[in-house]
Amino acid sequence: MVWGYTYSDGSILQDITMPTKTATSKASIIYGATPSSLTQTIREVAAKLEIKWDGNIWTEETDYFLNAQGHERVNSVTKEFVASEVDFELDNTTGRFSPENTSSPIYAYLNTNIEVRVGVTIEGSYYRMFTGRIKSISPDRGGGVVNINCIDNTSLLIDKDCPRALYEDKRTDELILPLLQEEGIANYELDQGDNVIAAAWFKDMKILPAISKLCVAERGIAFFDRLGKFIFWNRTHLDKQASKVTLTIDDVLTNLDLSVRDSDIKNSAVVKAKPRASSGVQVVWTNGNVPALNPYTDTLVWIPNHDQQVAYLEIEDPCTGWITPVADTDYTANTLVDGSGTDRTSDIKIGFTAYADACYITVENHSNDDIYLTRFQIRANPLKVWTWIKIVEKHETSISLYGEREIEVENDFITTESAAKEIASAIIRRAWEAKNKVGTQLIGLPNLICGDVVTVEITDDDSKDYMIEDINWELSERGFLETFKLVNPPVPATIQTIRAIGNIKGTINRTVAAKADIGRHYKTVTAKGEIS
């Protein structure tokens, strides 16, 4: 393959032969436009329910299926991670699903945490609606039915601790990944995060709140999709979404609730953050002014001959780059407390184990004398809080109408004031007025998920874009029906970072053209750069 650059006069800058390279890429199938089969007047609708009773083989239980109600939600303001849930009602006249029925062929497997998946087939096309696990099985003997409550794969992350490691200069997705790996979740699809966090430390945090905070700082969302895969959308993904479908009055909508609600108004947003950053290798702990200390009670001051002292030292800030104490540099030992006796530094042996915000030290005295540690210090690179951010965003018109309705967000993964301001503004934009939510009931469209943007036909002459925040779906003898709660879609930030990749050779100035993805529309922009 020959590559080169041809000037307008026809001269060629350079020809080079490029070797053939193998590239790998990943792709995912995203439901696109709504298939016409979903909106035709008469639809054949069927459920499909499968349960992995023995943990290995999916058993189809559709023959017992009576109905299902599902609920999924993405919190557009607080980015709180909300699990999807499904309740099934199954025919249990044979006692198949009764936990006390020893003659049931699945008696040994009737338990919680069993994998479940359910879908709907409409006009021959199958759509998975839920993948998760059983949380409860409740037989109703009188009615001959059994109710099975299920929660999506979020259950794998509930009440799980974050790893205690420290991370420097990582994007949101690079921080989410170790949280998933901590719990062995290998089925994920993560957008490349737009937010880079200088220093991240999940001290004592649980995984779900940690992911929620990362999403708030990113202005993205995370969820388990209907196939059971963990999904992270970055803010660009959310901002650039075009409407997938128009929910028309004629064909889809069976009810439209444009009522005004007082309860969801937020017109004052306070965003606080204490981001951390690397501050360079320095002394993070010292044993202090040894002559003034009590050698028998204070840490690492005095050690009897042929004895040892152990210490677990907790540091105020988490650290990276721990340095095992070096003789003469970090510690000195002497037979006298003021250092005027015999130097015994070479008789000291150090054992050292570092954690994120602490270290475990063993100091052994191999000499025949009792010794004083006339100096002892620990060096490391502390990730210190480098700034305190507090942004207050108010919507005065809204406050004058409804009174002040404050929401406070505290999130140390927010790294700059401008990011904090964007988050505060986004909250206010979405929730400053009482008309910030729309409820719709519709003939179910299983290709839509929370986070999607749809156009709603308000009247024959008026339509508006909204983002789906909440979906309730029902699959029963009434067919496949849904109820959406819709909110105003994200508004792209005024200034966005764009990335362009070029194959440009030479060391002279060039004007290059790039296509940038700004907001919901692709724009062609030009930029002049110095190529070196």
Partner: protein, 127 residues
């Protein structure tokens, strides 16, 4: 070739019934719902389509009735086969509903005839 009589079969055995009287029927059954949009368009959600077979016996002997009732009381799904209707020629799995038993004529415990209607609903959807 003579038309085969209707049968109801389970693992426990097969009951052969007489040909029913006039008035029998095959009725299409739709499990469906209709929803009207805000624009006034009515849409239909169809979950299942199946058949219901109604066999009317103006007179049925005590022996036949007892055999039929025993079969119904097995409380299992039954295979209904009847060559009269193409839907059931090859055998189809059904749930059975037996009507009230009405005395038509006769006396004693065994020497009388009853009027009975047998309603059979297919278990599986045909779509």
């Amino acid at each position: 070739m003579a038309l085969a009589k209707p049968t109801l079969a389970s693992i426990a055995g097969t009951v052969t019934l007489p040909h029913p009287s006039r008035g029998t029927k095959v009725a299409p059954v739709w499990i469906q719902a209709k929803h009207t949009t805000l624009g006034g368009k009515t849409r239909q959600e169809v979950m299942a389509r199946k058949y219901q077979y109604v066999l009317v016996y103006e007179v049925m002997s005590v022996d036949t009735y007892d055999a039929l009732e025993d079969k119904v009381e097995e409380l299992v799904e039954l295979t209904f086969t009847y060559g009269k209707w193409p839907q059931s020629t090859a055998g189809v799995t059904v749930l059975v509903e037996l009507s009230d038993r009405k005395l038509v004529y006769g006396t004693g415990a065994t020497n009388y005839w009853s009027g009975v209607t047998l309603t059979l609903t297919e278990v599986s959807s045909r779509i």
